[in-house]
């Protein structure tokens, strides 16, 4: 194997590659108002730890840091949950191709986006993180697991549980607006 291929890229290149998906993740986790501050904290912490990072899966590595920053942020907050990002902002924060990760598709229905994401905000932290990683950052389950420090199966279960709750909320909404 080529030695350069396994070397850490310059931090600037790492930042350019991962800024947008991490921003999308944090908007889903803490909402658009606080996402930028969490994003600063995330990349500052990443820079601090960078020389010791494993070059293998830097996306998962930085998302792990972002998830911890989002948890710290929620702990530091005495008030209730903040509004999470509007889905359009989540999508705008994404890079590259439009993925398969449409949460509407996953729910098999199309209630209004903002209502879905309001329901996402009510989920337990690990389910919220898993569902945001899967659908806003568009990660495969394997990478969701890696970013959360769990197995692929656990990531699948978290997303599955989250979707079950979201379907229930969506059905309730439908009932209410009928």
């Amino acid at each position: 194997m080529n030695a350069m291929a396994q070397a850490l890229p310059p931090f600037q290149a790492f930042l350019d590659d991962h800024l947008h998906p991490v921003r999308a993740f944090l908007r889903g986790m803490v909402g658009p108002n606080d996402a930028e501050d969490c994003l600063q904290e995330t990349f500052l912490a990443a820079l601090r730890a960078y020389p010791r990072a494993e070059p293998g899966n830097l996306r998962a590595w930085v998302l792990t840091i972002a998830r911890r920053k989002a948890i710290d942020h929620h702990r530091a907050r005495t008030k209730g949950p903040r509004p999470v990002a509007e889905p359009q902002q989540l999508i705008d924060g994404r890079t590259g191709r439009e993925g398969t990760g449409s949460i509407d598709g996953a729910l098999g229905m199309s209630p209004r986006h903002s209502e879905i994401w309001a329901a996402v905000a009510e989920l337990p932290a690990s389910q919220r993180a898993a569902v945001v990683l899967r659908f806003a950052v568009d990660l495969r389950y394997r990478d969701v697991g890696e970013a959360m420090g769990t197995s692929e199966d656990a990531a699948r279960r978290n997303v599955h549980e989250a979707l079950k709750k979201l379907r229930a909320s969506a059905a309730e909404l439908k009932e209410m607006t009928r």
Binding site: M4, A7, P10, F11, Q12, L15, E36, Q40, L44, L47
Partner: protein, 184 residues
């Protein structure tokens, strides 16, 4: 650069986390790059050198904490601008020599750094000044691997017969610099 990245770089710099700061620099020959550690200027890349490769090398050889932060390179960029405009004949920049091989190679580069604007020496002169008059070929190798070209003026070292000889940026670039200095 986005406001987010500017703010991040400034905070990182305050916290002493930017091991290598870099900026691009416009020259009459194209876009080059300058990079500095807290010790001083560590790398000048000529326009013919791919920036991605230069940065990957810096990440490997100095530190992966490489960040675009032009504020730390204001003075280097100003002096280079003046040099290319013909308004400056020497540089007053602290240098970080770590990317040159310690020993004979570095002595060759240090000796070359003292050759004044507008003058030229031969490879043999450079070897002699570094303490080994017979090692002119090795002196050529040392100059060919100069990490801080222009500021460490390896272009002022030419062949005994008066030919300009090789240059990292290509012989045309070497000729351009020597003409700029009125040495040809």
């Amino acid at each position: 650069m986005s406001e987010f990245v500017d703010r991040l770089a400034a905070r990182a710099n305050e916290d002493g986390l930017v091991d290598v700061a870099y900026a691009t620099v416009e020259t009459p020959l194209g876009t080059g790059l300058v990079a500095a550690t807290p010790k001083g200027l560590v790398r000048v890349a000529l326009p013919n050198q791919p920036i991605d490769e230069v940065l990957a090398r810096l990440a490997k050889d100095v530190s992966p904490r490489v960040l675009e932060f032009p504020a730390r390179l204001d003075e280097a960029r100003r002096e280079l601008d003046q040099y290319f405009q013909g308004r400056r004949d020497h540089f007053e920049l602290p240098l970080d020599w770590r990317l040159s091989h310690p020993g004979f190679y570095r002595r060759v580069l240090r000796a070359t750094a003292r050759v004044p604007f507008g003058e030229v020496i031969t490879y043999r002169d450079a070897a002699r000044r570094a303490g080994n008059p017979r090692a002119s070929r090795a002196a050529g190798t040392a100059l060919g691997s100069n990490p801080i070209p222009i500021v460490v003026p390896c272009h002022r070292v030419i062949r005994t017969g008066g030919e300009v000889g090789n240059y990292g940026g290509g012989p045309e670039m070497k000729r351009f610099l020597l003409e700029l200095e009125g040495a040809l």
